[in-house]
């Protein structure tokens, strides 16, 4: 009888814990659903062809957000251009080449700390360094470089994880045939790790797409109706535009639907990138059958 009680008690305990875990997941999913619903229901009204194909007009109380969309895409491309090569190269060095020791541990610690730096600090650094010292001004270049540095730890992390997932037996097989270490990395290790690297990188960039603080001094401006023609041009950007409309305009209440509409476009853009990354990875994995 006593033993039966014991078993029952253990099962009840298990049920309680698993319910708690399930609740945590439900809260997570609910938060996402509520947020998306909230923005969708309020922003839906603003979406029209004009909204995504025209520049703002009447002191940004009407018209569209095309310059913001283009600006954010330009900043993302610049970020990718900066962070992907440096990030992947760093990961290859740290994971494939460097002798694992104190120095590498120190570098890794540095990278992890870089990931913890608040984004406003990146913004101020970018302003001081790229805009002023390197005289690039407020531009796609400055903003992209700032976002690029901020995204580096994410890309290095994702790339290192992808490289670590490449079985050592591939490296051994290649070396045993008289390939050099670089040939092994280039022909066997990188192609195998590529899906993971590219997916991790796109996820990192999509995170950067939504950042406001790093670009508000370095790349994005309050208002410009022109689309950029070079990387030294300033741009409007979606997250900064939301911030401006919601806090700095004279007609905050009147532009409410535009704010939600912009937020909706930004979310669609970010989800789109993430979705693309996931599809791309599963396609490439299928092709290699790993």
């Amino acid at each position: 009888m006593k033993q039966k009680m014991m078993i029952k008690k253990r099962l009840v305990l298990q049920k309680i814990w698993f319910s708690a875990f399930r609740l945590a997941v439900l809260i997570n999913g609910a938060a996402l659903c509520v947020m998306v619903y909230f923005i969708l229901s309020r922003g839906f009204r603003a979406i029209s062809w004009e909204f995504i194909s025209q520049a703002p007009r009447d002191s940004m109380t009407a018209g569209g957000i095309l310059p913001c969309i283009v600006g954010t895409i330009c900043l993302c491309l610049m970020t990718l251009f900066v962070a992907l090569p440096i990030g992947v190269a760093s990961a290859i060095y740290l994971n494939e080449y460097a002798t694992q020791g104190k120095l590498v541990r120190f570098i890794r610690l540095g990278i992890n700390n870089l990931a913890g730096v608040p984004s406003i600090v990146f913004g101020l650094f970018g302003l001081a360094f790229f805009c002023i010292v390197f005289k690039m001004g407020v531009s796609i270049a400055s903003g992209g470089l700032t976002l690029g540095i901020m995204t580096l730890p994410v890309i290095i992390g994702a790339s290192e994880e992808a490289l670590r997932a490449v079985p050592n037996t591939y490296r051994e097989a290649s070396l045993a045939m008289g390939a050099t270490q670089w040939q092994t990395i280039k022909n066997v290790v990188l192609p195998t790790a590529f899906p993971g690297i590219i997916t991790g990188s796109i996820l990192g960039i999509s995170r950067a797409a939504g950042e406001t603080a790093p670009i508000m001094y370095t790349g994005a401006v309050f208002f410009t109706p022109d689309l950029p023609s070079s990387i030294l041009d300033e741009v409007m950007a979606l997250p900064y535009h939301i911030y401006v409309l919601a806090t700095a305009g004279t007609q905050i209440e009147a532009t409410r639907h535009l704010q939600y509409g912009t937020a909706l476009v930004l979310i669609v853009l970010v989800f789109g990138m993430n979705f693309f990354a996931i599809i791309l990875r599963s396609k490439m994995r299928k092709k290699m059958r790993i």
């Binding site: 002798t99 694992q100 079985p167 037996t169 591939y170 490296r171 051994e172 097989a173 290649s174 070396l175 045993a176 045939m177 008289g178 390939a179 050099t180 040939q183 022909n187 066997v188 192609p191 195998t192 290699m288 059958r289 790993i290």
Partner: protein, 253 residues
């Protein structure tokens, strides 16, 4: 047994950090003969095998003493080119490890990294290597399909073909059949017999019947030492030492 000495080590010591894994190993490997290395797990036979093409170099903190010679060249001479040494001393691993590439690309890989560009030549060598490894008939219609779709036994023969493609002088095999079923194992053993007249083969195996079946000479390792080395027939029928006899009759190990 008489013959030309292709590869030999003299008083080879090997250390992982402070742990000495091999003690004074001296073996002469005869050209175009199969030598089997047997012994219980952890006896150092795989470590020894990996000394012969310097695969152990990948592990940090190792140290090698003594001599290892390929023909007249010192394998551990600082001036030797490790990359070309590994081309001459090929290796097949315990677990089949084809690259996630097509069957054709797997075989062509070694040629490409060694600078062969002539497409016709590559195609010819791919076919020849697959035939040598007795897998051509099974894969000739699917050369552009991924090698990971093959069965375990086919993958291992593909790996042997891949190693043969760069025309090595010596082939090291580290328990090549231990992850395979009996039928696939038999095919690998037949393959070793077919290759041996033209290739010096050194095979590590846990399976004593396999050593007896495939090898001309057998070396018995125990606790990092070479205990006995002899013609396979002699070692398995009239071992000189009690320790060897106990192992091959299954009384320990």
């Amino acid at each position: 047994m008489q013959g030309i000495i292709k590869l030999h080590t003299q008083n080879l010591d090997f250390f992982y950090g402070n742990f000495q894994a091999l003690h004074q190993i001296s073996i002469k490997f005869l050209q175009n003969k199969v030598t089997a290395l047997i012994g219980p797990s952890g006896c150092g036979k795989s470590t020894y095998l990996r000394c012969l093409n310097r695969m152990n170099d990948l592990i940090p903190g190792i140290k090698v003493k003594g001599r290892a010679m390929l023909g007249t060249e010192d394998i551990y001479d600082p001036s030797i080119d490790v990359v070309s040494l590994r081309r001459r001393v090929g290796m097949v691993f315990q677990k089949p490890n084809p690259f996630p590439k097509s069957i054709f690309e797997n075989i062509a890989y070694g040629l490409k990294v060694n600078g062969v560009k002539d497409r016709a030549k590559i195609t010819a060598i791919v076919e020849k290597s697959l035939k040598q490894a007795a897998i051509w008939d099974e894969v000739k219609d699917r050369l552009n399909e991924t090698a990971l779709g093959l069965s375990g036994g086919q993958q291992q023969r593909l790996c042997i073909a891949r190693a043969l493609a760069v025309d090595p002088e010596v082939l090291l095999m580290d328990e090549p059949a231990s992850a395979l079923d009996p039928i696939a194992t038999q095919k690998i053993e037949e393959l070793i017999a077919e290759l041996s007249p033209r290739l010096t083969i050194i095979i590590v195996t846990h399976n004593m019947q396999q050593a007896a079946r495939v090898s001309d000479r057998t070396a018995f390792f125990y606790m990092g030492k070479l205990i006995e080395l002899n013609d396979t027939d002699t070692l398995f029928t009239k071992p000189e030492l009690k320790q060897t006899e106990d192992y091959i009759t299954g009384r320990f190990g």
